[in-house]
Assembly symmetry: C2
Homo-oligomer: 661 residues x 2
């Protein structure tokens, strides 16, 4: 890693890069501005640089003539680092060479920001690997007059003799089919057994040691190699799904969709309100199921598997999402004293709620802790492992419903705060999910206040994702484009800042660079949403720590989860006050912890038990009932914070910056 | 009992009678013929007798003038015994006074024939009384901000605190409703818990000790007093149902219907054949479910209960009936080596197969032993208690599929033989079920060969029930109307015997006495069916006893079950060779043992366990594979039997009789 040197001229700055890095990103990280207006698609041709030594891999240089290419010109957004190079930024591309102050641990930050995917096989030890669903190939003695016991009996007898399995029950729908399956398969079949708590075995109050396997599928021949589960994260704004190979523990495919319930309300409260209308609950359930089926279809079609080899599905979601998924009435979650129907949900047949899977597939839903602390956070705590680690850890799931856990292997406290959908791209005029076309890197030229943007997928920009919004906000703050209350500095002399119906806005990309109908902008209303979201999260951490008499400095680890966490720039998140200013090496990223937990319990009965233990162990703090929360929230409506002593370094850095306006 | 003396003149015969006996029955039992043509309805007025001393209770003497009544004339069919009497049979009524030889234990026989209903509370001890379904009234703390755990949690907590119940799971459909039920009920509800093995807890191979209660219903207020179950006997020809009060152990109502599957085949084999046609299995399932719903509706409407207070349903049926009920394909039951899909069936939601009960009601089906030894016999063995009795017992269930068990508390062997529906009134030209209008008593005048008949309900005859057919056959044999091979004696000089398309027939009632379109007859084909049925049963007992080296004389008890067994005349059944000639005090009647067993398991979890143990314990003998069965069957196609040494007394009595023809 980082073994390649990139030498920028004329600034004479040398930085380390990794093979495969894109040159425009390396420059951006180094604080070297290259004019890049088309998001990295190579369409505008403005980011041309001159190779002085070494070579890059370049895919598309349509905007360069053969002569220019021969002279060494390359498009920075299309150049992949393969070895040491020296590049010169020509005047046309180089609008500014001022170098941002880089903190001494920038590379750590850089690594921190990048998601280091936690490999499932590192989380699941050999001892843990014990999927709730297993397949067994078995050969059955055909019946004779001397041995004509029932088909079911002889199948069970064979499982006992060949695999030492007993006390097996059978799904009724399967029972209707086995006689023909056994004969058509010439008495050699593969049996799928599930060993998780089924509907009738769940208990709200305590765990029960004994699990009895249930036979849910019998297939002809040996299909033990084809065995899959689907894991889901039911987010308020985004739905995620993965297809897991239960033999190899690998995720074979991933898919996501916006949660279509957003049409009926941005957050859980508005959706509960909608659920109380005529057929509201049914409608909310139906639309989310429809999108989950879309995800399942995509997972199946994008991997070369057959749907009937999927034999399990696990899901994690917050309490309201879980209620809506299962069709449970969330009415009393919204009304004081905020009681859900249940925190532990019986597994149910997936087809019963309309999921397009085989009739024998059961859906296991993660248990919740309270009305606003749901199965997604339980799943996240499971996947982060903090419940078995002695270090004091703050676990943050930044989503529409922000969830926070503090504790260690001894105790766990949890709270939730309604951050709103801003960090998922919701509530922003040009907000979008972190998919192709979302602006995720951003830099402002200190002189001209012109932007340098790069999008996910290096295509023409379509909008702003949550992580991009954080970077934009931090860059605005640093350059004085906005003040600490989030208002545009109108003394800035740039055509990019202009009045709009919501105060002022900054043009990130003019429509001619977007092929869109309109300019892509970020407005003061957008910035307000972002500030309120980060303030709610920050006040949440503070309250929870205060409850147990701790401060940020006591934290040994901070784990950031959430699909959004995948893309977050740690330093920038601290700059805007979304994350506390503590040594960055204490930060860890887990990605979508909720989805990861759903995957873990697919692969391990022991971890499934752990999930239920965690749900019972966590103490919930109702922030809405904590009077200090509102004070803390108000104090956090500032960039980075009204109390500069909490963000000493950040505040100093922001203040030290020249105001470029 | 029998403390009243009835003195018949002019024969000067004195017999004992019980208060409430009908005079015509007492005469019939005593072998005194009274002309009774209208079946006991009082319509023909032919059975008039003259009271010489004492009094009878008489309901309808429309056929007698005031003067005749004053003189002491009464209709024997309408006279109830209330005290000692002396009656004279006038010439008009008395057609014959010849007295049948009465065996010394006639009164025992008489009592034996009468059904002494086994009261459920004599079978279920206090220790046994432990219904799978129980109701608990509980008051729940309403939620507060300090205590806002889920509705389900607080309900479970209250059950723990107030009834010491724990580890309770919940039905998913119920979970969807509880929040509103709890609030509407102002936090006082009655919970129904089921503690039987549910779908996922059943195992084919072994019993599992631990049962965990599952909550299936929550009702507002205290409804603990209203708690019912339905028990069903799914016979090949007849369906029986009872409504059980789970608090008092009483049967509140009983209803029955012909099994409408008879349209598709008289016996299990023809129904299996039909099930293999297109949609055949679905059709068979649908029609039986339709009739069961009719029974359920009748049970509910005839007792003053609400359907939603029925929370359980248990059923016993033979293996094929159970397969068809549950929609399991019986194809391989018919094909050698005769394997059913399963012998143990998972409980399923009753609504899943279309039974019109609440969605939370589970149907528990008795386990089978083999393809032709079903849950009905397991249920019967349970209700008879032979599995806990050291005495060697023969258990006989006389039905379309005759089932036989021999054994004691140490061992149990079983076999089945296809007797056909004759004893249930099927396969007879004027056969009918043992309901109002069925001829159940029959006597032939030794001189004129004129019949004396009485019907169930004392109404004009409509047909012949199985028990009536046995009596008719025995009386035919005794009077020489038929020979020992079942053919009419054409030398008899009576207009009652006449040729027909099926050989000859005997007119039981001319159409003018029936208000029917035709005379009611019994044909040689009917008699053939009856002989083949009894021969199959008898050969079955012999084979099973031979297998273990025993004879009829070793039997300490014979228990007769089957709805039909309710009405059977023991002595007459021995006369025709349906039952072995052993001392009659060894015979016991249990009624519909299958239905009784279904009732027992409704009231006792321990007996439910016993039922499953019995199914595992019984050894099945395939009579169709026993070569000696056919020989024994052929030998039994004679009245009472070709081997007169097996029926010494009976044969002698038959032979001794004058041939009246």
């Amino acid at each position: 890693m980082n073994s390649i040197t990139v030498h920028f001229l004329p600034s004479d700055k040398q930085v380390k890069a990794a093979p495969g890095d894109i040159l425009v990103d390396v420059a951006m990280d180094a604080g070297i501005h290259i004019n890049a207006a088309c998001g990295g698609e190579g369409a505008c041709g403005k980011c041309r640089i001159l190779l002085k030594s070494g070579e890059v891999e370049t895919k598309n240089n349509g905007k360069l003539t053969h002569q220019e290419f021969e002279k060494g010109y390359r498009l920075a957004c299309k150049s992949t680092i393969i070895g040491d190079i020296t590049v010169e930024i020509p005047e046309t591309a180089k609008l500014d060479q001022s170098i941002l102050k880089s903190s001494p641990d920038q590379n750590d930050l850089h690594d921190g920001r990048r998601v280091v995917p936690r490999e499932i096989d590192k989380l699941i030890t050999e001892a843990d690997y014990n999927p709730a669903l297993k397949k067994y190939n078995v050969t059955i003695d055909p019946p004779t007059l001397d041995d004509n016991t029932s088909d079911l009996s002889r199948l069970l007898r064979a499982l006992k003799q060949q695999h030492n399995l007993e006390s097996i029950s059978i799904d009724f729908l399967l029972l209707k089919k086995i006689s023909h399956i056994l004969r058509n398969a010439n008495w050699n079949v593969t049996v799928t057994l599930v060993q998780t708590r089924m509907e009738s075995q769940l208990s709200e109050h305590q765990l029960h040691g004994s699990r009895r396997p249930k036979m849910i599928s019998v297939e002809p021949g040996d299909t033990t190699g084809k065995h899959y589960s689907i894991v889901l994260d039911i987010g308020t704004t985004t739905l995620w799904g993965q297809l897991i190979d239960l033999n190899t523990k690998k995720s074979l495919a991933e898919a996501s969709e916006y949660n279509p319930q957003v049409t009926f309300g941005d957050d859980v409260i508005t959706r509960i309100v909608f659920s109380q209308k005529k057929d509201g609950l049914e409608k909310l359930q139906q639309v989310v199921i429809k999108s989950l089926n879309k995800i399942i279809n995509e997972l199946v079609s994008s991997s070369d598997i057959e749907r009937e080899h999927i034999s399990h599905i696990t899901a994690a979601g917050n309490t309201v999402m879980t209620h809506l998924l299962l069709g449970l009435d969330p009415k009393f979650i919204r009304e004081t004293p905020y009681t859900p129907v249940a925190n532990f949900f019986p597994p149910i047949r997936a087809i019963r709620i309309g999921l397009e899977l085989s009739d024998y597939v059961y859906l296991y839903t993660f248990p919740s802790v309270a009305s606003y602390v749901g199965g997604d956070i339980v799943s996240g705590v499971l996947s982060s492992g903090i419940y078995k680690d002695s270090r004091l850890t703050l676990y943050i799931d930044i989503g529409t419903n922000g969830e926070i856990v503090v504790g260690n292997s001894e105790w766990l406290m949890t709270a939730s705060c309604s951050a709103g959908p801003a960090f998922e791209g919701g509530g922003l005029k040009y907000g979008m999910r972190a998919t192709t076309g979302a602006i995720e890197r951003f830099h402002i030229d200190r002189k001209t206040l012109e932007p340098m943007i790069r999008t996910i997928g290096n295509v023409i920009p379509k909008g702003i994702c949550g992580s991009g919004a954080i970077i934009i906000l931090a860059e605005f703050l640093r350059t004085g484009v906005i003040d600490q209350s989030g208002k545009f500095n109108c003394s800035c002399t740039t055509h990019r800042i202009r009045p709009c119906s919501e105060g002022h806005e900054y043009v990130l990309a003019y429509k001619e660079d977007t092929k869109a109908e309109e300019d892509i902008v970020i407005t003061e209303a957008d910035i307000d949403n972002l500030i309120r979201a980060k303030a709610a999260m920050f006040a949440g951490y503070q309250c929870l720590l205060n409850k147990v008499g701790l401060t940020f400095q006591d934290l040994e680890r901070v784990i950031i989860a959430g699909a959004f966490g995948n893309f977050i720039d740690l330093k920038e998140a601290i700059v805007i006050g979304l994350l506390p200013e503590i040594p960055t090496d204490r930060y860890h990223f887990i990605g979508n912890g909720s989805l990861l937990g759903a995957k873990l319990i697919s692969l391990s009965n022991e971890l499934l038990d752990d999930g239920e233990k965690i749900a019972r162990k966590m103490t919930n703090v109702e922030l809405s009932e904590d009077h200090s929360f509102m004070d803390k929230y108000m104090a956090a409506l500032f960039l980075p914070h009204t109390d500069s002593t909490i963000f000493p370094e950040t505040t100093r850095a922001v203040m030290e910056h020249d105001n470029f306006c």
